[in-house]
């Protein structure tokens, strides 16, 4: 049994310790907001917060998450009121939407460390792939979220 703390709730899971955190979230706990895109730390679809820092959950074994505070898209706000979610709605960022949980978690982590990021800061922090090419709107929405916070 592995004990996890996700979105402030404690969960016990019976999985092999090398199982990536991503698949524990999705399959074992049914929290499917966090997505699988590549499995090799390339795309960021699986981004969650690990003690406040953005990590790619496909590349973290669940055993390494045992003592951490994990935050997923489901826990970002109860009702889409987080500034990043609000800004995303205002700018109508998502297209297919598949990458957007990861983008939002990456943006939320950026803003919590750097409340007024420049374009250059955004370029460095936002390395997640969006195959629909919503980057321009993501950039705009991050600036907007910075105003909302």
């Amino acid at each position: 049994m592995i004990t996890l703390k996700i979105n402030k709730k404690v969960h016990q899971v019976d999985v092999e310790p090398d199982t990536p955190l991503l698949w524990v979230l999705r399959d074992t706990l049914g929290m499917t907001g966090t997505k699988f895109g590549c499995g090799i730390n390339q795309c960021g679809s699986c981004t969650v917060h690990f003690n406040g820092l953005p990590i790619r959950s496909c590349s973290v074994p669940v055993s390494a998450a045992q003592d951490a505070e994990i935050l997923t898209i489901e826990g970002l706000s109860p009702d889409r009121t987080h500034a990043v979610q609000q800004a995303w709605i205002e700018e109508d960022v998502p297209q297919c939407g598949y990458c957007q949980s990861g983008q939002i978690m990456a943006a939320a982590a950026l803003l919590s460390q750097n409340p007024k990021p420049t374009d250059a800061d955004i370029d460095v922090a936002m390395t997640n792939i969006c195959r629909c090419g919503t980057y321009q709107r993501i950039r705009k929405a991050i600036h907007r979220a910075a105003e909302l916070i």
Partner: protein, 714 residues
């Protein structure tokens, strides 16, 4: 609300059909958060259901893969229905003959057809329902229908000031005869269509609740992971099934075409099962294929005579007498779709039924394949279309569905099969590689008089829809090349069909993805050969094409064409019509001392005729441009020994935030018939970039992607 049993209620909701009794309709909620929130709704026709509280569900027959169709099609319905937009919600249509895409006579989404094909039928559905609601109110009040009007979800009686909401009227309205020719609004009275409206699917896509195929969970569901032969067409030679089955949670190893699905109680355990198999393949007949061998055979095939795609005038004679002749060849590689959501499908096959949950662009093709695999008749097949994490043509195919159906059939339980990114990259139906050759004769004024173009390209339709291949022409191989907007008096365009053994399929903008690169590079070369400005040169050739010329002029103006640019910046221009829309783009680039191309800005103008949701058109241009930039700058699928070398995003590179240019889009305002918007943004990107590179360096890129060229020394 009635349910079959509580464990499945997430997926089941009662649906009342007009004229019929109560029918059970299966559907997926858009958002897992609202799975249980629904009130009893009355259908007024196949597309519209109205609840007592006035909430309106619009059945959307097109799959939502990012293009905003869950908003655009409900807008069309709501316009004629005079609905209160805040009460309208989209719902994915089930399998049904009313939902066949009028452009293809099958239920499917593609070819940028949704708005243009559904505009009329959905306007009609909205108008019909509106007239029935008015008639129901008039009957109730004992007044003439002509004294009543519908507005914002209510029917009003002008004389008495009486009013009733649609929710109060729907039950009686649904019992009335549907009018055959309901009155439709003139376009100048639209109050919703043509205005930018927020997408209805955005809320579910910012809180993780949107249900994609990969997110489907049904009771007793198992998970499948796939391994198929790396060489196309190869077969399993050996594997250690026992080793896989010895692992915790692994339930079965199921044979599928060219490989296996390992079924387990979680995806990760299934994937570990695949790894444990130590599977070996017999390579089969394609084991010697490589990019070099394919490219060589394509260039050789340029010497063959092709099937004529377009011919007018006397090209041979006019090439002879031309003052100057240009002869050039171009080439593009295979490309993968790389949808952000890897291919997946969930199936539950029993003795006498099959239900699937699939992120599919092709509901009718899915039903056809299921009946082939199971022998079940269509009425025993249920298809739930989820959100698609990108489509781009990939999800018209049914290979992933086959895996899920076979796996479920074998284990007798629902199975969700999820491909790894590696499997997805290496087993696509690729954008075809192709080559194209031009001989262009320039007259004494430097303008082209003769245009001879031969395309060598694998055929997509021969496999997918062979009935559309006629006289040796696959229309998707020559689109974008055979109907030039330019006034060139003598033209000959032909096509050599050449199969390679590598599967090919529809890839965002299909034939225009390569032909726009070829044609717009060749025109640019002609302009430079006659020392003319590439914009003015094109303009002169568009005398009798006012819509094209307007787009060209606007994109030149918006990009500041010909004006001074920051030091080291250069521009390239391109123009292409595809899927009924004309798009012009100007790319502004610079090249670093290391030879890296930096794209600073792409200016885009689109004429897509009448527009439903302008902000969605802008979004689709932004999206198509980034998609095109990925392909132009880095996109290659390399074949070696019959297999694909690239496997994941580390070697099949996508554009990211830092490389993405500023994109400016303007829409031409007119009321022409609607064109497509999902694809037309992509074709002009490649030539706009390579034309800009020529302007910067004098080096002409005739083979994509840009990354294979050394621009440091150029």
């Amino acid at each position: 609300m009635e349910t079959l049993n509580t464990s499945r209620r997430t997926f089941i909701k009662t649906m009342t059909l007009a004229g019929g009794g109560l029918m059970l309709g299966f559907h997926l909620p858009i958002s897992s958060k609202f799975a249980e929130a629904s009130t009893k709704e009355q259908a007024i026709n196949a597309f519209i259901r109205i609840a007592k509280d006035g909430d309106i569900a619009v059945m959307v027959p097109s799959s939502e893969m990012g293009q905003g169709i869950y908003t655009a099609l409900p807008m069309i319905v709501a316009e004629e229905l005079e609905a209160d937009w805040t009460k309208v919600r989209p719902e994915m249509a089930p399998l049904g003959k009313e939902f066949k895409n009028p452009a293809f006579y099958m239920q499917s989404t593609g070819g940028s057809t949704s708005v243009k094909a559904w505009w009329q039928p959905l306007s009609q559905a909205g108008a019909t329902a509106r007239e029935m609601l008015i008639a129901a109110a008039a009957k109730k009040w004992g007044v003439a229908a002509t004294e009543c009007e519908a507005k914002n979800g209510m029917v009003l009686h002008k004389g008495s000031g009486k009013k009733l909401g649609y929710g109060d009227l729907v039950e009686s309205a649904s019992k009335l005869q549907a009018p055959k020719n309901p009155a439709m609004k003139p376009k100048d009275q639209y109050r919703l269509i043509g205005k930018s409206v927020k997408r209805l699917d955005t809320p579910a896509k910012v809180d993780g609740s949107a249900v994609f195929g990969i997110d489907v969970r049904v009771p007793n569901m198992l998970y499948g992971s796939v391994k198929t032969s790396p060489v196309f067409g190869g077969e399993v030679a050996s594997m250690n099934e026992a080793a896989a089955k010895a692992l915790k949670g692994v339930k079965a190893v199921v044979p599928v075409p060219n490989g296996v699905v390992v079924v387990a109680d979680s995806y990760w355990r299934a994937k570990k099962g695949v790894d444990a198999l130590d599977i070996q393949f017999k390579d089969g007949k394609h084991a010697n294929l490589s990019n070099e061998s394919i490219s060589k055979s394509f260039h050789q095939a340029l010497e063959n005579k092709g099937a004529i795609a377009h011919a007018g005038g006397d090209v041979a004679a006019n090439l002879k007498v031309a003052k100057k002749t240009i002869e050039v060849e171009y080439e593009v590689p295979f490309l993968a779709h790389a949808t952000m959501e890897p291919q997946n499908c969930t199936a539950f096959v029993t003795q006498d039924s099959c239900e699937i949950w699939s992120p599919t662009q092709g509901q009718d093709p899915a039903a056809f394949v299921i009946s082939q695999l199971t022998g079940l008749p269509p009425e025993k097949i249920k298809i739930n279309t989820t959100f698609l994490g990108g489509g781009f043509g990939r999800r018209f195919e049914q290979d992933f569905l086959i895996h899920a159906v076979l796996a479920s059939k074998a284990v007798g339980q629902p199975v969700k099969v999820v491909w790894s990114r590696e499997e997805d990259t290496q087993h696509d139906f690729y954008r075809p590689c192709s080559v194209s050759k031009f001989q262009i004769g320039l007259g004494t004024d430097g303008m082209p008089v003769a245009w001879n173009n031969r395309i060598v390209c694998p055929s997509i339709l021969t496999r997918v829809l062979p009935q559309y291949v006629k006289n040796g022409i696959d229309p998707t191989s020559v689109e974008g090349a055979n109907e030039l907007p330019y006034g060139i008096p003598h033209q000959h365009i032909d096509y050599v069909m050449k199969d390679t053994g590598i599967p090919v399929g529809f890839w965002r903008s299909v034939g225009s993805s390569h032909n726009a690169f070829y044609v717009e590079s060749a025109i640019d070369e002609a302009a430079h050969a006659s020392n003319q400005d590439p914009y003015q040169f094109r303009r002169k050739l568009l005398d009798s094409q006012p819509r094209f010329r307007t787009v060209l002029d606007m994109v030149a103006k918006n990009s500041g064409w010909g004006k001074s640019l920051p030091k080291g910046h250069f521009q390239g221009i391109a123009l292409a019509k595809s899927f009924g829309s004309i798009v012009g783009e100007v790319a502004e680039i610079s090249i670093t001392p290391e030879g890296q191309v930096q794209v600073h800005r792409v200016v885009c103008v689109i004429d897509c005729g009448s527009v439903v949701n302008p902000d969605t058109v802008v979004a689709q241009m932004e999206s198509g441009i980034v998609f095109g930039l990925t392909a132009t700058l880095n996109g290659t699928i390399t074949i070696n020994k019959g297999r694909v070398i690239e496997s994941n995003f580390h070697d099949y590179k996508m554009m990211r935030m830092a490389e993405t240019p500023k994109i400016d889009v303007e829409i031409v305002q007119n009321t022409e018939a609607p064109g497509g918007v999902g694809e037309p943004g992509t074709p002009p990107v490649a030539p706009a970039i390579t034309n800009a590179i020529f302007a910067a360096t004098g080096y002409r890129i005739r083979k994509l992607p840009v990354s294979i060229h050394d621009l440091k020394s150029a």
